[in-house]
């Protein structure tokens, strides 16, 4: 069944390309309808998910058995929420109205392709399969940014591709390193997680950990590997930004948990503190640099660096077996995963909103706007909701995540948590300033005929907003699932 979620979009992507030119208008409805298939699969999976059962609903088939490579997919408390997030974000990104420059067939085909690939990354239970999806996500995003971006999009797309490809090749080296230690040779993730074949403490383990770490750090991105992110976001079309921030960045943090932490637990523990320090640097750096931005999308892009820092901080704390209590590490992990989901929803919404603003105002420069709250209450309302969620206001999804991350980390690395907390003050300041610059104050005369959000935009944004609130108020359904995973990891 999980396979359906991957292959139906993939097949329909090919079908979309093959639509005759005179029926090109069918591409959009076809893609949107198709994107509901993974959503339905996630729904059924969620209903059938057994808490505490580890990996389940596994489907596997032989692929290249002589090399220990198989096609194997399944979900657990870590991947299920991310799969759900991916399915939802792709649907809303496709629903979101977008000028596809008359290339609607390739546009929606690329989107469906990327959806299948992204789902694959989170579902894969074989390292090679994982890497296949991982690398293809770069290709899909490269074309999305390059073809449908604006500004200096060719350069940004290439920079994105080059930088993340280098990261992913480092990851490949790490994967190979693990593979060479397995006996008999296998890429089976479940098996590797069970046996943790790489001997801890050696040079090899360190090198493998670093290779994996660089691969994931580029994708996450952690400072100082983040420089590809701002240009990619600024020049990408809004729906692609949503996917990039909402889904692709999660692959990095997912990799840190699934591969670095679960496959090299002792080595991870040795490097947990340095990783935590890098995370705190990312938190503060991302927040501070975001504060200095004058461009709406850059603000959001840098807050992504900040928020992914929270996630990594939680993961680092969770992996520091031996420090703090099991409960602290478990809650830190849960917080990190909730943050992944929350950031996906919130930042996804913010990027879509920035697309709406660009479509109407033609620029991302904050000082070109002001006083839009009166003209566009719906736009203002959703943006403020997302901004408040992003700055971690209770009752919204971001808080649920950040509280758990900090509460958990405090029990493991009190100083890191304390310093990292400053990030939430800075984000508060910068988001309030952003709201103020765009929505409050005087309305420039030229925006007198500013349109509020249209129906299609609301169709895309409201589900995100609703989920942000639901997770903020009733998080138990989500935390229950994630916690089943965190407990296991925290016990070491």
């Amino acid at each position: 069944m999980l396979t359906t979620a991957i292959f139906v979009p993939l097949i329909v992507a090919a079908v979309t390309l093959a639509i005759p030119a005179k029926h090109a208008h069918l591409a959009r409805p076809l893609a949107i309808v198709t994107s509901f298939v993974p959503l339905v699969v996630v729904g059924i999976t969620w209903a059938r998910f057994e808490i505490g059962d580890g990996l389940q609903l596994v489907e596997s088939a032989k692929w290249i058995p002589s090399l220990g490579i198989s096609y194997s997919v399944g979900v657990d408390g870590l991947s299920l929420p991310l799969v759900g997030l991916t399915a939802l974000l792709f649907t809303v990104s496709m629903v979101f109205p977008f000028d596809d420059l008359g290339k609607s067939r390739p546009y929606y085909a690329t989107f469906l392709f990327l959806e299948a690939i992204s789902l694959g990354v989170f579902l894969a239970l074989d390292l090679i399969l994982f890497f296949v999806f991982w690398d293809l996500s770069l290709v899909g995003m490269y074309f999305l940014i390059g073809v449908w971006g604006h500004g200096d999009s060719q350069r940004s797309a290439l920079k994105f591709f080059l930088y993340t490809l280098l990261g992913s090749l480092a990851l490949l080296l790490g994967i190979l390193g693990i593979y060479l230690y397995t006996e008999p040779r296998t890429f089976d993730m479940v098996e590797i997680i069970r046996t943790t074949p790489v001997p801890a403490g050696g040079v090899a383990a360190t090198l493998i950990f670093l290779a994996l770490g660089i691969g994931f750090a580029v994708k996450t991105p952690l400072v100082p590997f983040h420089t590809w992110l701002p240009p990619a976001h600024v020049d990408a079309p809004a729906p692609a930004s949503t996917i990039l921030a909402g889904v692709l960045l999660k692959m990095g943090t997912y990799g840190f948990i699934r591969i670095s932490l679960q496959m090299l637990p002792e080595t991870f523990q040795r490097f947990a503190l340095p990783l935590g320090i890098v995370a705190v640097v990312s938190i503060l750096y991302g927040a501070l640099v975001a504060m200095a931005q004058t461009n709406l999308k850059r603000v959001i892009a840098y807050t992504s660096v900040n928020h992914m820092g929270y996630v990594i901080l939680g993961i680092a704390a969770a992996g520091a077996i031996g420090s703090g209590s099991d409960a602290s590490r478990s809650i830190a992990m849960t917080g990190a995963v909730v943050e992944m989901v929350a950031h996906g929803l919130i930042t996804g919404a913010l990027f879509l909103v920035s697309g709406s603003i660009l479509a109407r105002g033609g620029t991302y420069e904050l000082d070109q706007y002001g006083g839009l709250a009166g003209r566009a209450p719906r736009l203002a309302g959703i943006t403020m909701l997302a901004a408040f969620a992003s700055l971690g206001l209770p009752g919204l999804a971001g808080f649920v995540a950040e509280f758990q991350i900090f509460a958990g980390t405090l029990g493991v690395y009190p100083w890191l948590a304390g310093i990292g907390l400053l990030g939430i003050v800075i984000t508060a300041a910068l988001f309030l300033r952003m709201i103020q610059q765009v929505f409050l104050g005087d309305l420039p005369v030229r925006w007198d005929d500013w349109r509020d959000l249209g129906r299609a935009e609301l169709f895309a944004l409201v589900p995100l907003a609703v989920l942000v609130i639901v997770i903020g108020v009733v998080p138990s359904w989500l935390i229950r699932v994630i916690d089943s995973f965190s407990q296991v990891v925290a016990r070491g």
């Binding site: 032989k62 692929w63 290249i64 058995p65 002589s66 090399l67 490579i69 290339k103 090679i128 890497f131 296949v132 690398d135 293809l136 770069l138 290709v139 490269y142 074309f143 390059g146 073809v147 999009s153 060719q154 797309a157 290439l158 591709f161 080059l162 490809l165 280098l166 090749l169 480092a170 490949l172 080296l173 190979l176 390193g177 593979y179 060479l180 090198l207």
Partner: protein, 471 residues
């Protein structure tokens, strides 16, 4: 003798077929010349079937100990045959108006024969013969368009470098012969154990230069971009690939018989690999001529392929990684050059602008071959790189794997310089294209590139325990 002749049936078929084709070309009227392509294809098909049949009963060392008819050779032969057949298919329309086109196919067959012999050589003398047959036909194929300045220039360069390299190799062989007292690899293995180290090193170094020339490896690599740019595009595709298949296999055979204690061939090959991939990539970076860029990228691919040699004897992935590499590289290169052929030799980077919308299928094929070269999964190039890097890490040459990674990332840049404008810039006028035969060739090559990665299991299991005989 009869027994030995049967053991190398594919060789006989190729040789006999080439001779028959010469007669055909000599005696039929001009109007019937184009059919020589079909003739060549039939010969290739027969040789291919023979090789396939032999996979079931591997003859082993044969022909008086000079020839290793093992599985590696058979697979190498199959790759060469497929490449030759695709080159023939690409050539049909390219040479349509050429009055002498029959000779071209003869040369193609002979050149393929040289490469096949090279892949099976376990004797120094046979190595020389194979090398020369492969090279000499290569020069001619390159300079086939006598009226074209670029082609003749490329032919000369190719020839000049080849002459020196082959000369060096012959000196080296003389040294090795003197040291060991024999010419077969088996003799070398026994005879070189106590040989004078300095002479051995010099001898091996010189032989390496000869093989490096065929591979397009540093320091005898310079002909590759010139040939890629100047030779007739189908011939370029063939010349770049076929020799490389034979040379890589024979280098591997030669390397494992040498005593590592006396000659540091492993680090030497590692350094050559490193230099080759890096230089090839860096030189490709700013090329505005797509064919020349492909030539340089071929150089860098050679560098990757050499990783298998570095790992041979230390990692059980070495031989299968080499075969994966050869297959994926060969098919990728045929696809990329096939696209160029299909676009009637279009080679200026600027001319590729917007072709993504006007020629979606063709550019799609080009993108697939490029992505395979970069090593994007699940394409053939990825499978190859995965195994190559696995093999060198296994062999203790992790730095070489790291360098491969860096180079792969660099290579993205120049491929993207073609891909990006093709898709990101607004549509141009459709370009004139060749007929459908070229499309079929491109299509087969692209499907193969994808299949080598996706349907890798048959290949992986066939190559898993593949043997590499040395006599």
């Amino acid at each position: 003798m009869g027994r030995a002749a049967v053991d190398v049936l594919p060789v006989l078929i190729l040789a006999g077929g080439a001779i028959l084709l010469i007669f055909y070309v000599m005696f039929v009227p001009r109007a019937l010349q184009p059919w020589s392509a079909l003739g060549a294809t039939l010969v290739l098909a027969a040789a291919g079937f023979a090789s396939g049949w032999y996979l079931g009963r591997v003859p082993g060392i044969t022909f008086f100990g000079t020839f290793a008819a093992d599985r590696t050779w058979l697979w190498g032969t199959l790759i060469i045959i497929v490449v030759t057949a695709l080159a023939a298919a690409l050539s049909v329309e390219w040479f349509r108006t050429d009055a002498r086109q029959g000779e071209y196919y003869v040369l193609l067959l002979l050149s393929a024969l040289g490469a096949v012999l090279l892949a099976g050589a376990v004797d120094l003398m046979e190595l020389v013969v194979a090398m020369l047959l492969s090279s000499v036909t290569g020069y001619t194929l390159t300079a086939y368009h006598r009226k074209s300045r670029a082609a003749t220039e490329a032919g000369i360069k190719y020839y000049l470098i080849g002459a020196l390299a082959n000369g060096a190799m012959v000196y080296g062989i003389a040294l090795l012969f003197g040291l060991s007292g024999g010419t077969s690899f088996a003799d070398l293995e026994i005879g070189l154990v106590d040989a004078d180290s300095t002479a051995l090193i010099v001898g091996f170094g010189l032989v390496t230069i000869g093989i490096a020339f065929k591979l397009g490896a540093v320091p005898a690599h310079q002909w590759m971009p010139d040939v890629a740019q100047g030779a007739p595009a189908p011939a370029a595709a063939f010349v770049l690939v076929a020799g490389k298949v034979g040379a890589l296999i024979v280098l591997m055979r030669l390397a494992i018989v040498l005593p590592e204690s006396a000659v540091g061939w492993r680090p030497l090959v590692a350094v050559i690999a490193a230099a080759t991939m890096t230089l090839g990539n860096l030189a490709a970076l700013w090329q505005n001529d797509v064919r020349r860029m492909l030539g340089w990228s071929s150089v860098s691919q050679t560098g990757y392929g050499l990783l298998a040699v570095v790992a041979v004897g230390r990692s059980d992935l070495a031989v299968s990684s080499m075969l994966f590499f050869l297959a994926a590289y060969a098919m990728g290169n045929m696809a990329a050059f096939g696209v160029v052929v299909k676009l009637r030799g279009l080679t200026d980077r600027e001319s590729f602008r917007g072709l993504g919308s006007t020629h979606p299928w063709l550019m799609g094929a080009l993108v697939v071959s490029f992505l395979s070269f970069i090593g994007i999964p699940p394409l053939g190039g990825f499978a190859a790189k995965l195994l190559l890097m696995g093999a060198v890490i296994d062999a203790g040459y992790t730095w070489l794997a790291v360098l491969t990674v860096v180079n792969s990332a660099i290579s993205l840049f120049y491929y993207a310089r073609v891909m990006g404008p093709a898709y990101f810039d607004s549509a141009a006028e459709p370009r004139p294209v060749m007929g459908s035969l070229a499309s079929w060739a491109v299509g087969i090559a692209v499907v193969a590139v994808v299949a080598i990665g996706v349907v890798a299991q048959p290949l992986a299991s066939a190559w898993e325990g593949v043997t590499l005989l040395t006599g």
